[in-house]
Every structure is written in structure tokens, then in C-alpha cells.
């Protein structure tokens, strides 16, 4: 699979590391992924590709995109960050959830050009030096996935849900996570996983292990 991604996203110099059910893609230079600029730069108010810098998981990524390229397409097809998934592509399933300006949003309904200069966080940035984030570990511990397609969106949404303070009860979690559909219906285990991670994250440093 690594070779497939590397071939399809050669410019991203994709290097894949597997962590249990999760895949982290890094590039050789420590995160910055640079795409080749098109030979002629156009004024931003044309329909043609224009340069944009996306600040993803702490690293700047320079690329040229048409205005109609969504953040989701830029992440997946230009930068090799395939964690966020294209499920419905209409804002109905939550599989493309990422954080922009520390808020959970739908990458499928966000234009890449509109994200210039904004901090973006994706599932690929959650694990630190190979150590899974408590949410990632909790999803494994609780078997909170079956096919796994919705999982990166679930985890990014849960990360924000906990930060928003909406993870105190199961009912509150269900309501504030309702934008993330799981067609395998792993919902009971997803709730249990988020509750565990929320407790660990509130517990401080040792919980992060």
C-alpha cells in the first residue's frame, strides 16, 4: 500500500508508518510537502491554479490549486494525507472531518484556497513519535470500528467534542457526535472509546501513555 500511495503521490514523497489500524504518512523532510508550481502563475481571481500555503499538522505545504479544489481533495490527492475520507462529499457523513483554526469542520465543503494561513489538523498529526493518541488507542481498546472508513473522521470529531466540553455523558456525546455516521453501527463502542479517552486526557500526562 505504501508503494501505491508513493506512486500516486510521488510529489509528496510519501512514507507510510502503520500504527495498528492507523496509517501515518510523513515525508522525508519532516512534514513539509511541496508540490511543483505551475510554470505560469495566474492572478488569484481566475479559474486557474493559484498558489496556496496550507499549514497542516505544524508544517507549511505549498501547492497550486484551482479554486474548485476542496480541502479534502487537496489533502488526499495532492498531499497524500488520505486519513480524511471522501464519503458522501456533501457534508452529510462526517468522514472528512478535520480541524481548521482548532474547530472541527467538513473538509469536503471547504475550499482549499480559503484555508490559506489557517492551522489545519488531520488524523496524520495525532500520533507523536509513533505513540498513539489516547483517542486512537481507545478506539482500538474498545473495538470502536469495523471497516474503519469513518474512523479518522470520528476521531478528529471526538477530539474537538472533548475540547468543547461535550463529552460528559453518553447522551451528550451521541448528540454532539451525530454528524459522524458509522454505517457499521459501531456507535456503542465509539461512545465508550471517547468516554475513556476523555477521562484519560483530563487525567494529565500519564493518561497520554
Amino acid at each position: 500500500m505504501a508503494s501505491v500511495i508513493a506512486a500516486r503521490h510521488a510529489h509528496a514523497d510519501g512514507r507510510e508508518k502503520a500504527h495498528g489500524a492507523f496509517v501515518v504518512i510523513e515525508n522525508a523532510s519532516g512534514g513539509a510537502v511541496t508540490a511543483t508550481r505551475s510554470p505560469t502563475l495566474h492572478h488569484p481571481d481566475t479559474r486557474h491554479p493559484s498558489p496556496v500555503t496550507l499549514h497542516i499538522n505544524g508544517a507549511d505545504n505549498h501547492l497550486d490549486v484551482e479554486p474548485r479544489v476542496t480541502l479534502l481533495e487537496a489533502l488526499r490527492e495532492r498531499l497524500g494525507l488520505t486519513g480524511a475520507k471522501k464519503g458522501c462529499d456533501h457534508g452529510q457523513c462526517g468522514a472528512c472531518t478535520v480541524l481548521v483554526d482548532d474547530r472541527r469542520v467538513l473538509a469536503c465543503l471547504t475550499l482549499a484556497v480559503a484555508c490559506e494561513g489557517k492551522p489545519i489538523a488531520t488524523i496524520e498529526g495525532l500520533a507523536v513519535d509513533g505513540a498513539l493518541h489516547p483517542l486512537q488507542q481507545a478506539f482500538i481498546d474498545h473495538d470502536a470500528l469495523q471497516c474503519g472508513f469513518c474512523t479518522p473522521g470520528q476521531i478528529m470529531s471526538a477530539l474537538a467534542c472533548i475540547a468543547e466540553g461535550h463529552a460528559d455523558t453518553d447522551d451528550e456525546l451521541r448528540e454532539f457526535m451525530s454528524g459522524n455516521i458509522c454505517r457499521c453501527a459501531a456507535y456503542p463502542n465509539i461512545v465508550a472509546a471517547i468516554r475513556q479517552a476523555a477521562r484519560q486526557m483530563a487525567g494529565g500526562a500519564d493518561a497520554a501513555l
Binding site: P44, D45, T46, R47, E66, P67, R68, T70, D89, H90, G91, G94, T97, R103, R104, V105, L106, L109, T110, L111, V113, A114, S157, A160, C161, E164, H166, R174, E175, F176, M177, S178, G179, N180
Partner: protein, 339 residues
């Protein structure tokens, strides 16, 4: 999506100019309706003008602040999530907070703006499917496929021969109930319009949905003050418990003084071609002692003019019971329910 150009509006006049150029040019705020419809090819602007940056130079556009008369003014670029959580709104207008929280997923609430919410388009499946030739809202004069097609979700109030599409916003139902005021601005100046008048009935021109004129933009929504002690509530009934559009909904604000209903603000959602204020229900309530029989009568008055079609006839009793329960809840008469 079809190719389009993208630019950021430098100031409000740039937004006015972009609005003047609709539908060739479209204003981009949260994008949750616009980009969805562009992917469906229902909307095909050649140029998008991003107005989200205007709040940097004009902070009022995204602010939530007290009005001089005791009400609250919400900037059009304020996000649904920010408005729902703001103490000025959550404490004084629970009906608005509840309508916002029930109106979309947490992700969409972080993206969508208050102005954009009022301009969202119907979820009628025939409007959203460009392979269907007949939709008077999408292609004026083409006909209405819903009337002879599957219309379980269509309107039972406010429909016309040309269109039976429901208005999708929950927030707008709360705003119409509260008699909120929409602030508009254009190159000719500013004007204010009652929320109820902002939304148009379809009539012969369902493609015209609001009173927003070419060259105008929404700058704010103003919630009028409620009497001290008034209580409000939004009840939404849908096919699943969360993250779904309304089959029926009711926005209610009631003020009881000396044992009598002194003020009543009532609107229904999910059942009409626009957010449906019910002066009939308000008149039935005012001056009377709150009771379950009174609420039943007022709710019946609210749907007395309904004209259902075969698939959506269930909405008439459902809307009546939705309003009845919302009234019972807000006045503390619902057994086992907290207002």
C-alpha cells in the same frame, strides 16, 4: 464542481457589487449550502466572493452584542456554534440556541453563518436533482415534479400550484416566532425587515425566496427583547433523533403573568414553504389560563389551513401535536418533562 474564480471581498461595497452580479457571482460564507449545490450542479456561479474575512475590518459583522432596547444583535457572519453557545442567546432565547443546535451537526455549525442559514435552499429532492426537468424553483416555468411525485416531506402550509417545497431552516422558525428583524445593507444604504416578511411565499415565483434585493447583503439579525420571565422552547420532530431535517417543529415563546398568557410567539417548521408564524395560535392563547385543552385548541388553529397531499397528510396531526407538546413543555404542564 464546474470551474469558477475565487476572490476575497476587501470591504462591504465589494460584497454589495458581488450581490448585484448574482447568480453569476455568489457570496461565499460558510459554504455549507453553496458548495453542496455547486457539486450537484444546482448552483453554477462563475465567480465566488469570499466574505468571511470582512469581520476583520468590520467586527460587528461577526459579533453578538446587546441591543439598546434589551434585545440582542447577531452579526450575519457569526457562526451557528458561536451563537448557540453565547450567554446572551442561550440565557435569554433558549428557543434560538435549541434551534441552532438541532439545526446541523457540530461540524456544520462551526462553518455555517447566521446570514447563510437564512439563505439556505430547500431540501426538496426534485430541486436538488438536475436530472429532473420539472422544478419551478430551479428552472422557472418548468413545472413541479414533487406534486405528482414523492412528496412525503413537502409542505402542507403556504404551498402554491407552482411549488410545495419546505423551508429547511430551524433557526428561521425561531426568528419568525420571536418577530426578529433582519438587517440588510447595500450601496443605497441600510434597511430593516421583519423576519416574517423577509421570507416569501412561493406563489407563481418560487425561485424568489427572500426579500433580499440584488446588491444587498444580510448584515445582522436582531432579536427583540422578551418580557422578563418569558420562556421559550424549540421542539423538533424528525425521522431520526439527531442530525436530520424536521418533519415538523415548533418554536414557542410564552409569557405568563398573573396566571394568564400575556404574550405568545408561535411558529412552525418543516411543514410550510416558509418559516410559518401562526397568529391564529397566538390569538387563541393570549389572555387565557395555560392548560392542556387550551394548547390543543391553539394547535388545531395553527394547522386549520393545512392543505395536505397524499404522502404528507401525516404532517397535519404531527404538527398539531408537536406544537401542543412544545406549549406544554414551555409552560411546565408536560408531565415528566422539564421546560
Amino acid at each position: 464542481m464546474r470551474p469558477f474564480s475565487y476572490e476575497r471581498a476587501a470591504d462591504l461595497p465589494a460584497a454589495f457589487a458581488a450581490s448585484q452580479d448574482a447568480p453569476t457571482t455568489a457570496l461565499l460564507a460558510g459554504g455549507t449550502t453553496l458548495l453542496d449545490l455547486m457539486k450537484l450542479d444546482v448552483a453554477a456561479p462563475a465567480r465566488l466572493v469570499d466574505i468571511t474575512g470582512l469581520a476583520a475590518s468590520t467586527p460587528a459583522l461577526a459579533e453578538i452584542r446587546p441591543a439598546s432596547d434589551g434585545g440582542v444583535v447577531i452579526g450575519a457572519l457569526a457562526r451557528m456554534s458561536a451563537v448557540a453557545e453565547h450567554p446572551l442567546v442561550a440565557d435569554q432565547y433558549p428557543v434560538v440556541s435549541q434551534a441552532l443546535v438541532k439545526g446541523a451537526s457540530a461540524q456544520l455549525r462551526n462553518m455555517a453563518t447566521i446570514g447563510g442559514n437564512l439563505l439556505q435552499r430547500t431540501r426538496c429532492v426534485y430541486f436538488r436533482d438536475v436530472s429532473i426537468p420539472e422544478c419551478n424553483k430551479r428552472v422557472p416555468g418548468s413545472g413541479c415534479a414533487a406534486r405528482l411525485g414523492v412528496h412525503r416531506l413537502s409542505a402542507v402550509l403556504g404551498a402554491s400550484p407552482a411549488c410545495i417545497a419546505t423551508h429547511p431552516s430551524d433557526l428561521a422558525v425561531a426568528l419568525v416566532a420571536l418577530q426578529a428583524v433582519v438587517h440588510l445593507a447595500g450601496s443605497g444604504g441600510e434597511r430593516r425587515i421583519a423576519a416574517d416578511a423577509f421570507f416569501l411565499l412561493p406563489g407563481d415565483h418560487p425561485e424568489r425566496e427572500t426579500a433580499l434585493a440584488p446588491g444587498e447583503v444580510i448584515t445582522a439579525v436582531e432579536l427583540p427583547p422578551l418580557p422578563v420571565g418569558a420562556r421559550s422552547h424549540y421542539l423538533k420532530v424528525r425521522d431520526r433523533e439527531s442530525y436530520e431535517f424536521a418533519l415538523t417543529s415548533a418554536a414557542v415563546a410564552i409569557h405568563v403573568a398573573d396566571g394568564l398568557i400575556a404574550a405568545a410567539h408561535i411558529a412552525l417548521g418543516g411543514v410550510a414553504t416558509k418559516p410559518w408564524r401562526s397568529p391564529e395560535a397566538e390569538r387563541a392563547l393570549i389572555g387565557n389560563v395555560p392548560s392542556r385543552p387550551l394548547f390543543k385548541d391553539a394547535s388545531a388553529a395553527a394547522v386549520a389551513g393545512a392543505a395536505p397531499l397524499p404522502h404528507n397528510a401525516f404532517k397535519v396531526p404531527l404538527a398539531r401535536r408537536t406544537l401542543e407538546r412544545a406549549l406544554a413543555t414551555v409552560t411546565g404542564l408536560a408531565e415528566g418533562e422539564m421546560p
